[in-house]
Each structure stands twice: as structure tokens, then as C-alpha cells.
């Protein structure tokens, strides 16, 4: 890296003076075409989720507009009042495109909310474990090990069997399932950072533990945390869909993509594929684009892979 910078500096001194770390990061990110496309798709999906009520062709949960007479229309067909349903309608006559837009809102919301909460909790616990070491570390990491030895879906299933249905409950379950991944990631990098000079300097300045942990150690543990955070968000979305499909996740009043797919299950045997197919495609596109962005982030942020 320094060699390249050196030569560049000889050629054009201005470029480096202007380039901030963020710009360098963006430049690295934009190098990979697949990643750029997936980032674009992801931004599009987030946009749809945020503005679903404004851009949906209809409000699928407005009982005045939904009529069962329009039920089970195949994709691209016109209803009697002249509205075209590009992705068809479900059993109750709701336009699938609109349902998917609204479903994305819930799926993304649950996924992001649980990932953020799990990140905050897991990162704090991981930092504490690495910074204090000794018995605290042993106990925390033993709990993490035990939890990670059970598959996520099983832990979530047990928790939801106990907690019951509901949007808050599934977020709680997903947080409990995921915090351990963050704790382990942060601990691993914090263990390395803890022994560096800047921490020593901060300790010599008699700064408080909390300040050292969150203002000095945490920012330096961010790169791997961001990568794990992206991948875990995709994982959370997929897990929520699976649990909702199994009937233990969200209630029918919160129709996420998983519930939309589950709804279409009964119509599938009569070849009405679109009711489950399109929500599934939406789910797939969301998960794949998040994963691909995460892959690219890992490549950029991993110092060992730096050219």
C-alpha cells in the first residue's frame, strides 16, 4: 500500500491530499461490479420498504379496496374494474406487488432492528470480556460457546415456543439468538487491540473504563463488526421468514414476506404458483444482495486481503 502511495504521490500530489479514508473506502468498494449492482438493488429495496404506502399500486390491507372477486388472478391479468395486477393476486384479492412492498417493510424492519440491538448488546459484552479478561472472560465465553453449539433456528424455536407470537417477541428471540456472534467477533479483535499503545496511553491518562471501552477500543474493532452485522442482518431476515412460515413467528396481522409465502402454500397444489413464488423471489433478492454487499465489505475491510 505504502509503495503505491509513494509512487502516486510522485506523480500527482493533489490526489492523496484530497482523499479521505471514506473516499478510499468507497473507491475500493466500487471496484467490484457485482457488489455495486447489489448495493444498488439493496438501496432500491430499502427505498421500497420505507415508502411502501406511497408507491404501492394499492393498499392491500384496506378492506374497502380489496374484493374477493379479484382473488387468485394470475400475473398480468386485469381485474373487472380495469386494474392490472402485474404479479397477480392472492386468495383474498390483494395485489401481490403491493403485498410484497408492505411485506418488505416488516421483514427488513424486523431484520435490521434485531441486528442493531443484538450488535449493541453483543459488542458491549464482547468488549467487557476482552478488556477485563480473567474469570469474567471465561464465564462469558463459556456461555457464548454453549449457545453457539445449538443451531440458531432451534434456539429461536424454543424461545418462541415460550414467548409466543408477536413482532416484539420475534425481535427478542432474534436478538438472543444473535448476540453471541457479535460478542465473539468483538472479543477477538478487542483482545488484539487491548495490548496496543493507545490503550496504554489512555489508561495512563486515567480515563474511565467506559470511555476507554467505547471511545478507544470499540472504534478500532468496527471493521469486522460491520461485516458480521451485514451477514447477520440477512440471516435474521431469513430466520424470521422461516419462523413465520412455521407459524411461530409473526401473527397474521404483521404480514411479512415469510407469511405471504406461507399463505400461498395452500394454493400451490392447484398450480397457483405466483402467490408464494413472487414473495419468495423478493426475499431471495433481499438476502442475496445483502450477502454480496457483505462479501465485498469483508474483502475491503480485511487487512490481510489488502493489495
Amino acid at each position: 500500500m505504502s509503495e503505491i502511495q509513494q509512487t502516486t504521490r510522485d506523480v500527482n500530489p493533489d490526489i492523496l491530499l484530497v482523499e479521505t479514508p471514506f473516499q478510499r473506502f468507497m473507491a475500493d468498494f466500487l471496484e467490484d461490479r457485482v457488489a455495486v449492482v447489489s448495493l444498488g438493488v439493496l438501496i432500491g429495496i430499502i427505498f421500497i420498504a420505507l415508502f411502501a404506502p406511497l408507491i404501492s399500486p394499492m393498499d392491500p390491507y384496506d378492506l374497502a379496496k380489496v374484493t374477493i372477486l379479484n382473488g387468485k388472478l394470475p400475473p398480468g391479468s386485469q381485474s373487472m374494474d380495469g386494474v392490472t395486477y402485474w404479479l397477480g393476486t392472492d386468495g383474498a384479492g390483494r395485489g401481490l406487488l403491493s403485498s410484497i412492498f408492505y411485506g418488505l417493510r416488516i421483514s427488513l424492519g424486523v431484520g435490521v432492528a434485531s441486528a442493531v440491538v443484538a450488535l449493541c448488546i453483543g459488542a458491549s459484552i464482547g468488549l467487557v470480556a476482552a478488556y477485563y479478561g480473567g474469570r469474567t472472560d471465561t464465564i462469558i465465553m463459556r456461555i457464548v460457546d454453549i449457545q453457539l453449539s445449538f443451531p440458531a433456528i432451534l434456539v429461536a424455536l424454543v424461545l418462541l415456543a415460550v414467548l409466543g407470537k408477536g413482532i416484539d417477541k420475534i425481535i427478542i428471540a432474534l436478538v438472543i439468538v444473535q448476540w453471541a456472534y457479535y460478542a465473539r467477533t468483538v472479543r477477538a479483535s478487542a483482545l488484539v487491540e487491548r495490548n496496543k499503545e493507545y490503550v496504554e496511553a489512555a489508561t495512563c491518562l486515567a480515563l474511565g473504563d467506559r470511555r476507554i471501552l467505547f471511545r478507544h477500543l470499540l472504534p478500532n474493532c468496527m471493521p469486522p463488526l460491520i461485516v458480521v452485522g451485514t451477514v447477520q442482518t440477512a440471516h435474521a431476515i431469513s430466520l424470521e421468514a422461516t419462523l413465520s412460515f412455521l407459524g411461530v413467528g409473526l401473527p397474521i396481522t404483521e404480514p411479512s414476506l415469510g407469511l405471504l409465502i406461507a399463505n400461498g402454500f395452500e394454493y400451490m397444489l392447484s398450480e397457483k404458483y405466483w402467490i408464494s413464488f413472487f414473495p419468495g423471489v423478493a426475499l431471495l433478492i433481499t438476502i442475496v444482495s445483502i450477502n454480496l454487499v457483505g462479501d465485498q465489505l469483508r474483502d475491503i475491510l480485511n487487512p490481510r486481503l489488502q493489495k
Binding site: P151, I153, L157, V158, A161, L246, I261, G280
Partner: protein
């Protein structure tokens, strides 16, 4: 070594005990089985007799104590719905789930290793890139949706295979298995494939990474210099060395297959443990839920214990580290 095993064994018992506490207390707070099971026209006396029969009138800690005592005797209560011992219900379903999981594991290995090795030998080829892209898809595709699409395409549209159930079974050692009859095999294929897709992607990635590492080793170069045929190098020298990580990871992942069979069993109405727990959850059949959770915890603790012990035999560093910690 024995200290290590005893420590791990004690830890396992502790985990099972904590889980029993959590599961029992948690499950008993959810829902009221009285509402659901008693005939709505029953009078107060009948309801009270019913509550007494099920022991629902006692305080929770007392209920737990009896639950624990009975659990140690192998009695986890009777199912509210089937009116049979919950443990028996679940044990009856275990072979179906294990059959599905083992066939899925075999499929993952048989398909995954050749594809992974190929992708590792020719990392820049078009076919290899396709294989790797497909494996990313395999990681991202939600299992339940793929299962439904499989039913849609292969069972409904093409009519090649049945869409649900286990089909005919034949008995081996007194246990019924589907893979022994042609009809059963046809029923088994789609669910097993569905369950194995995720692990297949994993095996492809592991085999590819292993191959890329091993082909540059000196012993492969030496084998080549010796004039051995390409086939012999790949199937003997290379395979042997990539199998170690693949086998370890798959051992660890077997538990994951059993957990994920809940999803596949629900989609394909496969009569295993997973389908039973989902039905029990929806019917608030508490004894079955509790019994299932206890059995699955025991299965996992046993799998983890075996893996840990095997690890410590293979890698002495693991047990030394544990003794220090």
C-alpha cells in the same frame, strides 16, 4: 484425559438441567390448556376434575419437581391431544427424522465433494464459476421456499414424485424405514434434497478451499514428478487430505440438519419429530413440546460431547487449554 471428559460431562448435565428449568417454566406460562381441551359445555365440577387430573392446580415449583422426578424415570407426561406418553410419541418419530437427515448428509457429500474439488482444480473455469455462484445461492435460498417450489415443479407440474408423506416403509431391525421400498425412496428424494441444499453449498466451499490449498503442497508435486496418473493423484493423494476438514465440519453440522428438518418436515408433511413439535405448538400440547425440547437438548448435548471428546483426542491443545481455563 479423563478429567477433561468428566468436566465436559458435568457441564453437559448442567446444560440439560438449566434447559429443563427454562423450558418447563417458560412453556407453562404460555396458553391455558384448560380452555382448549375441556368441552365448552362442561360444568364447573368437570373442569375442576380435569385440572386435578392433569395436576394443573398445584404450584409451579411443585409441578416442576414432579416433572423432574418423572423425567428421570422416563415419563414426560401424556400428550393432551393423542392421550399417549409424550416421550413415546417422539421416540416413534425419531427414525423418520434421522433417516431424512442422514440421507441429506450423504447427498451433500456425494454431490458436494466432486463439484468442490473440480472448482478447486480449475478455479478460473466457467463451470467452476457457475458452481461457486450456485453455492452462494444455496446459502441464501430460504429452505422452506425452495421446498415449496420443488413440490410445485416436480410434484404438481411435472408429476414426477409425490408431494407429501413417507410412502411405503419396510421394517429393518424392527424400525420402519422409507429407503427400503421404491415408493418410499420416491417420497424421500425431494425432502432430502431440500434439506441437503444448504450443507451441499457448505461442502462445495470446503472442498474447494481444501483443494486449492492441497494442490500446491510438495507431496502433490512429488506425486506428479513420480509420474502418477492425474486420477490417482486426485482420488488418493488429494481426496485423503481434503477429507479431514470436511468430515469434521459435517460432524458438527449433523445437529444443524436435525434442527432444520423441522422446516423440511413441515413443508413435505414428513412424519418426523419436527412436524410433531410444530403441530404440538399450534395445539398448545404442552407435554409434547416440553418432551421434544428436552429430547432435542439431550441429542445436541450428546452430539457436542462426542465432537468435543473426538476433538481432544485429535488435537491435544484443546484439552490442555481447557484444563488451564
Amino acid at each position: 484425559m479423563s478429567v477433561f471428559i468428566i468436566r465436559r460431562l458435568m457441564q453437559s448435565v448442567l446444560v440439560v438441567w438449566i434447559m429443563s428449568l427454562l423450558v418447563f417454566v417458560g412453556v407453562n406460562i404460555v396458553g391455558d390448556p384448560v380452555d382448549m381441551l375441556v368441552n365448552p359445555e362442561a360444568d364447573q365440577a368437570e373442569i375442576e376434575r380435569f385440572i386435578k387430573d392433569l395436576g394443573l392446580d398445584r404450584p409451579l415449583h411443585e409441578q416442576y419437581w414432579y416433572f423432574l422426578l418423572n423425567a428421570l424415570k422416563g415419563d414426560l407426561g401424556n400428550s393432551f391431544i393423542f392421550n399417549q406418553p409424550a416421550l413415546k410419541l417422539i421416540v416413534q418419530r425419531i427414525p423418520a427424522t434421522f433417516e431424512l437427515a442422514i440421507v441429506a448428509l450423504l447427498m451433500a457429500i456425494i454431490v458436494g465433494i466432486p463439484l468442490g474439488v473440480y472448482a478447486g482444480l480449475k478455479p478460473d473455469g466457467k463451470i467452476s464459476k457457475t458452481i461457486m455462484a450456485t453455492s452462494i445461492l444455496g446459502f441464501s435460498l430460504p429452505t422452506f421456499w425452495v421446498g415449496m417450489m420443488m413440490i410445485m415443479v416436480f410434484a404438481v407440474m411435472l408429476g414426477w414424485s409425490p408431494s407429501y408423506g413417507r410412502g411405503e416403509t419396510a421394517s429393518l431391525f424392527g424400525i420402519e424405514f422409507s429407503f427400503l421400498t421404491w415408493n418410499g425412496l420416491r417420497h424421500l428424494f425431494l425432502p432430502a434434497l431440500n434439506l441437503s441444499l444448504f450443507k451441499m453449498s457448505l461442502v462445495i466451499r470446503l472442498a474447494r478451499a481444501g483443494t486449492r490449498e492441497v494442490v500446491h503442497q510438495d507431496y502433490i508435486k512429488f506425486a506428479r514428478a513420480k509420474g502418477l496418473s492425474q486420477n490417482r493423484i486426485i482420488f488418493v493423494h488429494l481426496m485423503k487430505n481434503i477429507m479431514i476438514p470436511v468430515v469434521t465440519v459435517l460432524g458438527l453440522e449433523f445437529g444443524g440438519l436435525i434442527a432444520f428438518s423441522v422446516v423440511t418436515e413441515t413443508v413435505f408433511s414428513w412424519p418426523g419429530m419436527g412436524k410433531l413439535i410444530i403441530d404440538a405448538l399450534n395445539n398448545l400440547d404442552r407435554p409434547v413440546v416440553v418432551a421434544y425440547l428436552m429430547i432435542i437438548v439431550v441429542i445436541f448435548v450428546v452430539i457436542n460431547l462426542v465432537v468435543d471428546v473426538l476433538y481432544s483426542i485429535l488435537d491435544p491443545r484443546v484439552r490442555l487449554q481447557d484444563l488451564k481455563g
